[in-house]
């Protein structure tokens, strides 16, 4: 049954990378060709993800479509690709976001070729993380997904409203790094320190298992001493968590997202932060179950802080991009809360929230970019009445906002409902209360922003001739918007995949072999 495409997963991972290689040889002035090649690379990956979903045997479950190529046999490292139900849903998410992301950055004129090369390399890494079954290769792909961000933000980002702050402020001043370069450098350094933690955790597992392989199934089946799990798990939690926006290591994210160009914000908030959460659950919790069980109260409590703190911070922002960025911090808290519940509903909800929030925040950032490109401002109070001149943008923005606050019929509702039910069923039922307060706060700030920007009085004179959604933007917005509604109305489309993988992993962590 695998005959037609023997290496489907390999193709998904490779196609953006191959497109990037092809772009190296396309002259920079052929802008249209550059964009078409990028779109083709993303399109093949998206198509591959859909085919994977269709081929995935829901009855059989487990890991499917496996491929294996030895890489460093001396250390037991090999390129092992396979997907489980979680992988399928996250592949779909990544495919949708990158395809829409390329469409949304169609008009980028500055150094177009380099931009798409970096973007495609990055997305290859993301795909790789979701399908690799070798822990080391997992880490390598993770790094590929993180590193191009430095240049993507540093070169194409905006310095608007980004100011240095925090305990290391003097360092930034000393090296004269400000604006987007500050955001880029801060993001890179924080995530790399996280990577160092991850690497230590991975080594600890490799050495303690004595298995001389990085195969995730083998390492996961090994029995680790409790003492080692107690210190190795937080390494992985904080390491991956720094990308997943875990409080207080989220501070790179608002600055990074606010200064990143549109497609990069979409990809970063939409998919990359999920890598972090996925890493915490798939590597940290599943592979070091006793460590995870011991730390779950802390994870849950921090997640709750994330939800409420993120929402309160979003509320006090004037810059539209910061609002969306802080809302991401808040929503990633929902993912971590779901993970901390250790219940089927909670875990299903966590993965589903990754999907739902990915699509939703992708839509948000696409629209923020679109509005900024036309109005040249992201300052919410100075906007108003945009709904009259750009009704389509207003429609999609409202849709994303409704999903963000968890309106039934949108994907966000299903995810948050599952997580809150899971929280209620868990040992710490009180988690559900701040969680729901967070959802309420989300409604306050997100509806406030929608009203101010699109439905309030105005538009003022300088905004009279704003152009509505056009050309390729329609493609990006329609794909993301319809995904949000379709999955919201018919959640089993994605949930069936997720639920196929959850019980097995949950058994491992609860020790119910």
């Amino acid at each position: 049954m695998n005959g037609a495409a023997p290496s489907l997963l390999g193709m998904i991972v490779a196609s953006p990378f191959v497109a990037a290689l092809v772009l190296l040889f396309v002259p920079n002035r052929e802008r249209v060709l550059v964009r078409l090649v990028a779109l083709l690379g993303a399109g093949v990956a998206l198509a591959g993800s859909v085919v994977t979903a269709l081929r995935f045997n829901l009855h059989a479950g487990g890991l499917q479509l496996a491929e294996r190529y030895p890489l460093v046999p001396q250390l037991g490292i090999s390129l092992e690709l396979a997907v489980d139900g979680w992988g399928v849903s996250l592949l779909l998410l990544t495919g949708i976001i990158i395809f829409a992301g390329v469409l949304a950055s169609w008009k980028l004129e500055e150094r177009t070729k380099e931009f798409f090369i970096l973007l495609l390399v990055l997305v290859s890494g993301v795909f790789g993380v979701f399908v690799s079954q070798d822990l080391f290769v997992f880490f390598l792909f993770y790094e590929i997904a993180v590193l191009p961000m430095y240049l993507l933000i540093g070169i194409w980002g905006s310095s608007h409203a980004v100011t240095e702050a925090g305990p290391f402020k003097f360092v930034w001043k000393m090296f004269n790094i400000g604006g987007r370069e500050y955001a880029a450098m801060k993001l890179t350094l924080m995530l790399l320190v996280g990577s160092a933690f991850i690497l230590v955790g991975i080594f600890a597992m490799y050495v303690a298992s004595g298995a001389h392989t990085f195969n995730m199934a083998t390492l996961g089946a090994a029995h680790y001493p409790k003492a080692m799990q107690y210190w190795a798990f937080p390494m992985l939690w904080l390491g991956f968590g720094s990308l997943g926006g875990v409080f207080p290591f989220h501070t790179w994210s608002p600055d990074g997202h606010a200064s990143a160009p549109t497609a990069v914000s979409m990809l970063h908030a939409g998919v990359l932060m999920k890598l972090g959460a996925f890493g915490v659950i798939r590597v940290g919790m599943v592979m070091l179950p006793e460590g995870a069980r011991a730390w779950v109260p802390v994870i849950g409590a921090v997640a709750v802080v994330n939800i409420v703190y993120g929402a309160l911070s979003a509320m006090s922002q004037k810059d539209l991009k910061y609002v969306v960025a802080y809302s991401s911090v808040s929503h990633m808290g929902v993912v971590m809360l779901g993970a901390a519940t250790l219940t089927t509903n909670g875990w299903n909800g966590a993965i589903f929230q990754m999907f739902a929030h990915g699509i939703m925040t992708g839509l948000f950032f696409a629209l923020v970019g679109l509005v900024y490109e036309r109005a040249h401002t992201r300052d919410i109070p100075s906007m108003g009445g945009f709904g009259k001149v750009m009704p389509a943008a207003a429609f999609f923005f409202t849709l994303a906002a409704l999903s963000s606050l968890g309106l039934p019929g949108t994907a966000g509702f299903v995810a948050e409902l599952l997580v809150f039910i899971g929280a209620w069923q868990s040992h710490s039922s009180w988690w559900a209360i701040p969680g729901i307060i967070g959802a309420f706060l989300t409604a306050v700030y997100v509806l406030g922003a929608v009203r101010m920007i699109f439905w309030g009085p105005g538009p003022s004179d300088k905004f009279h001739d704003l152009v509505d959604v056009n050309h390729t933007e329609w493609g990006a917005l329609c794909i993301l918007g319809s995904a949000l509604v379709v999955v919201g109305c018919w959640p089993s489309l994605v949930l069936d995949f997720i639920n196929r993988a959850t019980p097995a992993y949950l058994h491992v962590i609860l020790g119910l072999h």
């Binding site: 460093v72 001396q74 790094e143 590929i144 350094l189 230590v200 050495v207 004595g210």
Partner: protein, 502 residues
């Protein structure tokens, strides 16, 4: 006993190099106004030829009553030296032709003489020969670093004579210290044969002797606290020569250290290991932290190189086949990467740059290929995945972790992140700054481009598929410890200890 020519087989690579030196020398003599650019091309061709020959010639066996041993270890290092020499010669051709048009052959003869010392060093198994080879390597370097004589260095505050004098004084003093230490070793052991040093009884005086040798060698490899000559010499000397100086002599220093400590005193590892670990720690910390403050790319690379010496010392302190093979891998990775980075600096400097970080501004526009190459070299130096430097650091960390140097590994990893910060300062200039108004397209000479390309292929190729080089390194290091040397059981004991510890 009549030695035949066949007995010299272990020295075949070295003899070929002697031939090449004579060839260039004669060429210089017969040309009416001395050899021109062709001396450089000839040298490059000869080095490439010897490099290729190293894959076909059998060099196993010993000569001179066991004082020199050929074989895998020696050939691996020889290849690294040859690659480093070849690439920096390629980078030198334009530079030498422009600045020293009338004494081009001299430059290459000196460089090859130094290389000859290096090629011999890994195989040396006798203390006297060790010192001789070390000086054969070192003395031409003093001359080369001051090769520009009085010609003012463009824009730099350190000039070539100062650079040369610093290297010379430090070199001579460190040789004296090393010699003093080795004479004590000889007094205590009664032999100059490295293989027999193992029978020396441990004593406090031996500890002092080893400390002296380590300090002397520490100057040569430029580890903290013996590093002060490094940045000044790098800044003052010609960049293509620094590409060579920053790599090959340091690695040669490691082969000498390996001969004395791993092979000679491998069984008394406890006597010297703490000192090496301490040197490693201060070099990693000092090199990386001091690099943060640099505004000159050559000085930045100098300090970062000190940090890399620290990582190599970490591998060295692991001892045994594991540590030795990781040292080999790191050496190869460092050679490819650092040489490449200096060549890019040369390309920019030759076009009117002053070697400052800001002179790299807008390189992406002036030469996209060079900028990309430099970016990859920098990432490799920082130890980022999918370039060779990552695997090098990873392997060293794994080996060190398993023998229990946990704190050192953690500090090393944190410092790797710090290093990314200053490497990114260069990347920032290249990609996020506009080129200066008068800076046009950058087109370095063909030879230099070839040199950069060779390094780039190595850095990316091995980075993508490290297994073959790792196998080579292991094959080269294993036999060194095979014939019942005391170091091997030490390591396996240490390994078992490391695993029990979890």
């Amino acid at each position: 006993m009549n030695p035949t020519l066949a007995d010299l087989a272990p020295l075949s690579l070295d003899l070929m190099l002697v031939g090449a030196i004579l060839w260039v020398f004669v060429l210089d003599l017969v040309r009416p106004s001395g050899a021109g650019r062709e001396a450089g091309y000839l040298t490059a061709l000869a080095l490439a030829g010897i490099l290729v020959a190293s894959f076909f010639v059998r060099t196993d066996g010993t000569v001179f009553a066991g004082s020199f041993q050929g074989g895998g270890w020696s050939v691996f290092f020889d290849r690294v030296f040859l690659v480093s020499g070849l690439v920096s010669v390629l980078g030198s051709i334009e530079h030498v032709a422009r600045h020293h048009a009338h004494r081009q052959a001299e430059y290459y003869i000196l460089l090859m003489s130094s290389l000859l010392g290096m090629l011999l060093l890994p195989g040396v198994r006798d203390l006297l020969l060790l010192v001789v080879c070390f000086e054969l390597m070192g003395i031409p370097l003093y001359v080369l670093s001051a090769f520009a004589k009085t010609e003012a260095h463009e824009g730099g505050e350190v000039n070539a004579p100062e650079a040369g004098l610093k290297l010379y004084l430090v070199g001579v003093v460190s040789t004296a210290i090393t010699l003093f230490g080795l004479s004590l070793v000889f007094g205590l052991s009664g032999t100059t044969s490295i293989a027999k040093l193992g029978h020396t009884a441990p004593s406090p005086l031996l500890g002092v002797a080893l400390l002296l040798v380590l300090a002397g060698m520490g100057f040569k490899i430029g580890s903290v606290p013996f590093h002060m000559w490094v940045p000044d010499t790098y800044q003052g000397s010609g960049t293509p020569f620094v590409a060579f100086l920053s790599v090959a002599p340091k690695l040669a220093g490691f082969t000498a250290l390996a001969a004395v400590f791993l092979l000679g005193f491998g069984h008394q590892v406890q006597a010297w290991r703490p000192v090496v670990v301490a040197l490693s720690l201060v070099s990693i910390l000092g090199g990386n932290l001091l690099a943060l403050a640099q505004t000159n790319v050559k000085r930045l690379l100098a300090y970062s190189g000190i940090g890399h010496i620290g990582y190599m010392l970490m591998a060295f302190a692991v001892t045994g086949p594991d540590g030795a093979s990781m040292l080999l891998f790191y050496a190869a990775a460092y050679a490819l990467t650092n040489t490449g980075a200096f060549l890019v600096v040369e390309a920019v400097g030759a076009d009117g740059g002053d070697d400052s970080i800001s002179s790299m501004a807008g390189l992406y526009k002036r030469s996209p290929i060079l900028a990309l190459a430099m970016l990859l070299f920098l990432l490799s130096l920082a130890g980022i995945p999918f370039v060779v430097g990552f695997w090098a650091k990873l392997y060293v960390f794994m080996a060190a972790w398993q023998v229990g140097f946990r704190a050192l590994v953690v500090i090393g990893a944190v410092m790797a992140v710090v290093s990314l910060f200053y490497y990114m300062q260069v990347a920032r200039a290249m990609y996020m700054r506009k080129p200066e108004e008068d800076a046009g397209e950058l087109r370095p000479g063909r030879a230099l481009r070839l040199g950069v390309l060779l390094c780039l292929i190595g850095v990316v190729g091995v980075g993508a598929y490290p297994a073959p080089l790792l196998t080579e390194a292991q094959n080269a290091a294993d036999p060194l410890f095979a014939p019942a040397t005391p170091a091997a059981p030490q390591t396996s004991a240490a390994l078992a200890f490391g695993q029990n510890d979890d």
